[in-house]
C-alpha cells in the first residue's frame, strides 16, 4: 500500500492528465461541429484541430503512462529467465499461505474490512522482493480511483461520475490515443475528396442516371471522430459500470454516425441501423446486469483504492475477499455469495452480512457479457460488423477494429472479478465459436475490407476465449497488439482502396506491390503479426523469440487454451479450435496479401490507375507498422505485458480448482507457464502451415482456386453467405415481427380506430348540447353583467371630469371631510 499523501498526489496528477486527454477531443468536437457550419468547406482546419486535440491527448497519455509506471515502482524490463518467474510465483504463494494462517483467527466477518487493510500492509512488507507477482496479489496497489461529480443519490444508492486509473487504463489510453492520432492523420489524406463544395457520390444514382451530388462533409467526419475519441477515452477512464454504460452507448452512437457517414447510400444507412439495433440487443443484457448490480449492491464503482478508505465500497471488493475468492454459503439454489464490504442492500435473516444469490451473480455476469457480445461482435451478434465496413476506411480502422469493438473485451477484462466460472465458460465458448466462424468466412471473402472485418471478428473471439479460459493477460495483451496490427492493416487497405479509386474487390487487384511498395510492406508486417509467425528455434536472450507482436499474444492465448483443456479434458475443443483457426488465420491473411499485391493484375484499368498514397497517409502506416512489430517486445515478460499484468485480478494468478457450480478448473500463471513452450511451438507450426498453403494457392498459383470453389461448391456457398446468419435472423426475427406488426395494424384499424371514432362522435354530440347551453344561459348572463357594468360606467363618467384641478379639490375636500367624520365618531 502506498501512503495516502503519495496516493492523492499521484492520483490527482494522473486524473488531471487523463481527464485533459479525455476532454480535449470533446472540445475539438464542439468547435468542429459548430465552427464547421460557418467555415469554408475546403478548409482542412477541422482536421488539424482534431489531430491537435487527439495528439495532445496522446502526449498527455504518454506522460500519464510514464508517471504511472514511475509511481507503481514497476520494473518493466523484467527479463529474467523463465525459472525465476516461476520461483517468484511459488514464493508469493507461500507468503500468501503464511498470511492466511496469521489472520485465520481474527478473520471473522465483523471486521473484515479491517482485516483487509492489515492484509494489504503485510503484503507491502514482502512485496518488493517478490517481483510483479506481489503487485498482482496486492489488488489495488497501483490503482487510483476517485469521483468527478455526484449525479444523484437515492437513499443508499449513489450515481457518480468516477475515474479509475490503473495499468490497463493507462495502457489503453496510450494505445487509443496513439492509434487515433495516426488514423486522424491518415484520414486527412483519405477524406480529402470531401474537401469540396460539390462532392460526387459514385455509389448513389439519381433518377436521371447521374450521380448524387452534395457538399463535402470533411469537418463533420473529423467532428465525429473527435466525439468518438472522447467517448472511447471516457469509457476507458470510467470508474463505475454505469458510467461505462453511458460511454458504451456514446461510442455506439458515434459508430452509428460514422457507419452511416455516406448516409445517401442505402447500404450505408442500413448498415448503420443494423449495427445500432444489434448493439441494442446486447445492451439489453447489459441493462439487466446493471439492474441486478444496482438492486443487490447499490453501488456501481469498480473499487475503492484510496489507502485510507480502501475496501469501504466498490463492486470488486464486495464480491471478492482479499485473496480474490468468492465467499459462498449454502448449496444448490440456496447458494449465496457473502458480500465483503457490508455495503450491499439485501441481508438474509440469519446472516449478518449482505449477500447476493449466486445465480443472480451469474445472471449479472451473463448480462454484462451480453453487452460485450453486441459491442465486440461475438456470436450470435457478429453480423453487424462486416456491414459496418460501409463506413470510410479510417472509421473501420479506428472504430470497428482497434478500439470500439475491443471495448467489449476491455469490459470483460475490467469486470473480471465479477464473473463466476460459469460465466467464464460461456465467454470461452462464445469466443471459440466466433473465432471459428469469423475465420472461415474470411477465407472466402473477396472484399478486402470484409476479409479484415471477419478477421477482426475472429481475433475478438480469440480474446474472449482467452479471457474465458482464465488467460486474462493473454486476452488483454492480444487486445492491445491486435489494435496496432489490425488498424495498420485497415489503413493499408484504405491506402489500397484510395490508390485504386475506391475499388475494394480483391478479384480486381493484383500486382500492386510495384505500384505501392510502402503499403505492400507495411501490410506485410501486419499480416505476419496477425498470423503469429516467428523465426523458430532462435531467440534473443532477454527478448524472447524473434517475432512480431501478434506472435506473443496469440502464443499466450493458445497456451492458456492448452492449459485449460488439459485441466478440463471435456473442454478440449477450446484448445483445438483456436489452434486450427490460427492456421486458417495465417491462410486467409496471406491469401489477401498475395491476391492484392502479387500475381498478375486482374483488372488492367485498376492497375493502371493505381498509385501510392501521399505521404500523409503512408506516414501513419510506418508508425503503426513499427508498433505492430515491436509493441509486444519481450512477450509476456516484456513491458507491455508487465504493465497490463499489474491490473490482473488477484485470483487469476493462482487459478482455481473445481471452481463454481460446474467444477471448472481455471489455470493459474504457473500452470499456463508450463504449457507455454509447447503451445508456442504448436501454434507456430500451424501458422506456418497456413502460410505455406496460402503461398501455394495464391502466391505460386499451383492450385486453381476456381476449381477448388467448384469442388467444394456447397461449403463455399455456405461460407459466402456467412453461415446464413442473416437469413436465419431474417426468418427467426424479422419475418415474425412483420407478421405480428401486420396483425397489430389490422387490430388498430378494425377495433381501436372504430372505438376512437365512436368516442369522437360522442364528444361532438356533447359539445353541441354544450353550445346550446352556452348560448342560452352563459352568454346571456355574461351579456347582462356587461350591460350592467357599462350602464354604471356611463352614469359614472360624469364624475370623472378629466380636470386635474378638480381632482385636487376633490382630494382636499375629501381629506377634510374624512377627518371631520373621524373626529366626530372616533372615541377619544
Amino acid at each position: 500500500m502506498m501512503s495516502p499523501e503519495f496516493y492523492s498526489e499521484v492520483g490527482n496528477l494522473l486524473m488531471w492528465l487523463l481527464t485533459a486527454a479525455w476532454l480535449l477531443p470533446l472540445l475539438g468536437f464542439v468547435i468542429e461541429i459548430f465552427g464547421g457550419y460557418w467555415s469554408d468547406r475546403k478548409s482542412k482546419t477541422p482536421a488539424y484541430l482534431a489531430v491537435g486535440c487527439i495528439g495532445t491527448g496522446f502526449l498527455l497519455s504518454l506522460v500519464a503512462l510514464l508517471t504511472w509506471v514511475d509511481a507503481a515502482d514497476l520494473n518493466l524490463w523484467h527479463f529474467g529467465d523463465t525459472e525465476s518467474a516461476a520461483v517468484a510465483h511459488h514464493e508469493a504463494d507461500a507468503a500468501e499461505a503464511g498470511h492466511e494462517d496469521d489472520h485465520s483467527h481474527s478473520h471473522d466477518h465483523a471486521d473484515h474490512s479491517n482485516a483487509h487493510g492489515e492484509h494489504g500492509d503485510a503484503h507491502h512488507d514482502g512485496g518488493h522482493h517478490g517481483g510483479h507477482e506481489s503487485h498482482a496479489n496486492d489488488p489495488f496497489k497501483t490503482a487510483f480511483a476517485g469521483t468527478f461529480y455526484r449525479l444523484g443519490k437515492y437513499g443508499s444508492l449513489d450515481i457518480t461520475l468516477d475515474w479509475y486509473i490503473d495499468g490497463l487504463t493507462v495502457a489503453m489510453f496510450a494505445m487509443v490515443t496513439l492509434i487515433a492520432t495516426c488514423i486522424h492523420i491518415f484520414a486527412i489524406g483519405y477524406m480529402s475528396d470531401e474537401l469540396t463544395e460539390r462532392y460526387e457520390d459514385h455509389f448513389v444514382h439519381t433518377e436521371d442516371g447521374g450521380h448524387f451530388h452534395r457538399v463535402g462533409r470533411f469537418y463533420r467526419f473529423f467532428a465525429y471522430l473527435s466525439l468518438f475519441c472522447f467517448a472511447m477515452l471516457g469509457l476507458v477512464l470510467a470508474g463505475n459500470i454505469f458510467q461505462v454504460f453511458i460511454f458504451w452507448e456514446l461510442v455506439g452512437v458515434c459508430s452509428y454516425l460514422l457507419i452511416g457517414f455516406y448516409v445517401e447510400r442505402k447500404t450505408a444507412s442500413t448498415a448503420a441501423n443494423k449495427a445500432f439495433i444489434m448493439n441494442r440487443v446486447g445492451d439489453f443484457g447489459f441493462l439487466i446486469g446493471l439492474m441486478i448490480l444496482w438492486t443487490w449492491f447499490g453501488v456501481f464503482q469498480f473499487a475503492e483504492t484510496n489507502p485510507e478508505t480502501v475496501g469501504s465500497t466498490g463492486l470488486f471488493q464486495m464480491v471478492r475477499t482479499a485473496d480474490g475468492e468468492l465467499e459462498t454459503q449454502g448449496e444448490g439454489r440456496e447458494k449465496v455469495v457473502v458480500l465483503q464490504a457490508q455495503q450491499g442492500i439485501h441481508k438474509d435473516g440469519g446472516n449478518p452480512h449482505p449477500t447476493i444469490p449466486y445465480f443472480l451473480l451469474v445472471a449479472a455476469g451473463l448480462g454484462i457479457f451480453g453487452g460485450c457480445i453486441g459491442k465486440s461482435a461475438q456470436f450470435p451478434l457478429q453480423t453487424w460488423l462486416p456491414d459496418a465496413m460501409e463506413g470510410p476506411t479510417p472509421v473501420s480502422a479506428l472504430v470497428h477494429s482497434a478500439t470500439m469493438v475491443a471495448a467489449g473485451v476491455y469490459l470483460v477484462g475490467r469486470f473480471y472479478p465479477m464473473f463466476t466460472p460459469e460465466v467464464l465458460l460461456v465467454i470461452a465458448y462464445t469466443g471459440c465459436i466466433t473465432l471459428f466462424v469469423g475465420a472461415t468466412i474470411a477465407v472466402v471473402a473477396t472484399d478486402i475490407k470484409k476479409v479484415l472485418a471477419y478477421s477482426t471478428i475472429s481475433q475478438l473471439g480469440y480474446m474472449m476465449l482467452a479471457l474465458g479460459v482464465g488467460g486474462w493477460l493473454a486476452g488483454l495483451f492480444h487486445l492491445i497488439t491486435h489494435a496496432f496490427f489490425k488498424s495498420l492493416m485497415f489503413l493499408c487497405s484504405g491506402s489500397v482502396i484510395h490508390g485504386c479509386h475506391h475499388e475494394q474487390e480483391m478479384t480486381k487487384m493484383g500486382g500492386l506491390a510495384k505500384k505501392m511498395p510502402i503499403t505492400c510492406w507495411t501490410m506485410f508486417v501486419g499480416v505476419v503479426a496477425i498470423s503469429g509467425l516467428a523465426i523458430p528455434f532462435l531467440g534473443i536472450p532477454k527478448l524472447g523469440a524473434i517475432a512480431f507482436s501478434g506472435y506473443h499474444s496469440k502464443d499466450a492465448i493458445v497456451a492458456a487454451g492448452m492449459t485449460f483443456s488439459s485441466l478440463n479434458p471435456i473442454h478440449s475443443l477450446l484448445f483445438f479450435v483456436p489452434l486450427i483457426t490460427a492456421g486458417i488465420t495465417a491462410f486467409y491473411m496471406f491469401r489477401m496479401w498475395f491476391m492484392t499485391f502479387f500475381g498478375k493484375p486482374k483488372d488492367q484499368h485498376v492497375y493502371d490507375h493505381a498509385h501510392e498514397s501521399p505521404r500523409v497517409m503512408t506516414a501513419p502506416l510506418l508508425i503503426l507498422a513499427f508498433f505492430a512489430m515491436f509493441c509486444a517486445i519481450g512477450g509476456e515478460n516484456g513491458p507491455l505485458a508487465q504493465l497490463i499484468l499489474t491490473t490482473e485480478p488477484v485470483h487469476v494468478a493462482e487459478g482455481a480448482m473445481e471452481a463454481g457450480h460446474i467444477g471448472l478448473n481455471l489455470p493459474g500463471h504457473h500452470q499456463i507457464h508450463e504449457f507455454h513452450a509447447s503451445a508456442g511451438a504448436v501454434a507456430l507450426l500451424v501458422a506456418f502451415g497456413g502460410t505455406i498453403l496460402a503461398y501455394l494457392f495464391y502466391g505460386l498459383g499451383i492450385v486453381d482456386t476456381g476449381a477448388m470453389q467448384k469442388q467444394f461448391g456447397g461449403v463455399h456457398e455456405f461460407l459466402r453467405e456467412k453461415w446464413m446468419f442473416d437469413e436465419l435472423y431474417e426468418w427467426m426475427w424479422v419475418r415474425p415481427t412483420l407478421v405480428v406488426a401486420t396483425w397489430a395494424a389490422a387490430f388498430d384499424r378494425c377495433v381501436l380506430d372504430r372505438f376512437l371514432g365512436f368516442l369522437a362522435g360522442m364528444v361532438v354530440a356533447i359539445s353541441s348540447w354544450d353550445r346550446r347551453f352556452d348560448e342560452a344561459v352563459v352568454d346571456r348572463l355574461v351579456n347582462a353583467v356587461g350591460e350592467a357594468t357599462s350602464s354604471v360606467g356611463r352614469s359614472l363618467r360624469y364624475v370623472q371630469t378629466g380636470r386635474l384641478r378638480q381632482y385636487v379639490m376633490f382630494i382636499a375636500v375629501s381629506v377634510v371631510m374624512l377627518f371631520f367624520v373621524l373626529f366626530a365618531y372616533l372615541p377619544r
Partner: protein, 103 residues
C-alpha cells in the same frame, strides 16, 4: 433653538403643504401645478427632517427626505417633458384644455 419646538416646524410645513394643494387646485398653468406639487413635497420633507431632529426617527428621516428630493427632481423632469409634449400638440399649457380623455 431653545424656544422653537417641533410644532413650529410642523406648522410651517402645514402652511407649505396647504399652499401647494391650493396652488395645484387653482393654477391652470401646468407648470404652476407642478410648482404646487413641489411645495407639497417640501412640506412633507420638512416634516420628515423635523421628526428626525425631534423625534425618534433618527437618520431615517433625513434619508427619506433625500429620496423625496431626488425623486421630486425626477418627477419634475418627467412632468416637464410631458408638458412640453402637451404644448407641442395643443400649443398651450392650460391643464383645463387637457380634455382628450374626458369621459
Amino acid at each position: 433653538m431653545e424656544n422653537v419646538g417641533l410644532e413650529m416646524f410642523l406648522a410651517v410645513s402645514a402652511v407649505l403643504f396647504v399652499c401647494g394643494v391650493v396652488c395645484m387646485a387653482t393654477k391652470r398653468n401646468a407648470i404652476g401645478v407642478l410648482m404646487g406639487v413641489e411645495l407639497v413635497l417640501n412640506g412633507a420633507n420638512l416634516n420628515l427632517v423635523a421628526f428626525s431632529r425631534y423625534g425618534s426617527l433618527g437618520l431615517d428621516g433625513q434619508v427619506m427626505s433625500l429620496f423625496v428630493i431626488v425623486l421630486a427632481a425626477a418627477e419634475a423632469a418627467a412632468a416637464l417633458a410631458i408638458v412640453l409634449a402637451f404644448y407641442n400638440n395643443h400649443m398651450t399649457v392650460d391643464v383645463d384644455q387637457a380634455t382628450d380623455l374626458q369621459g
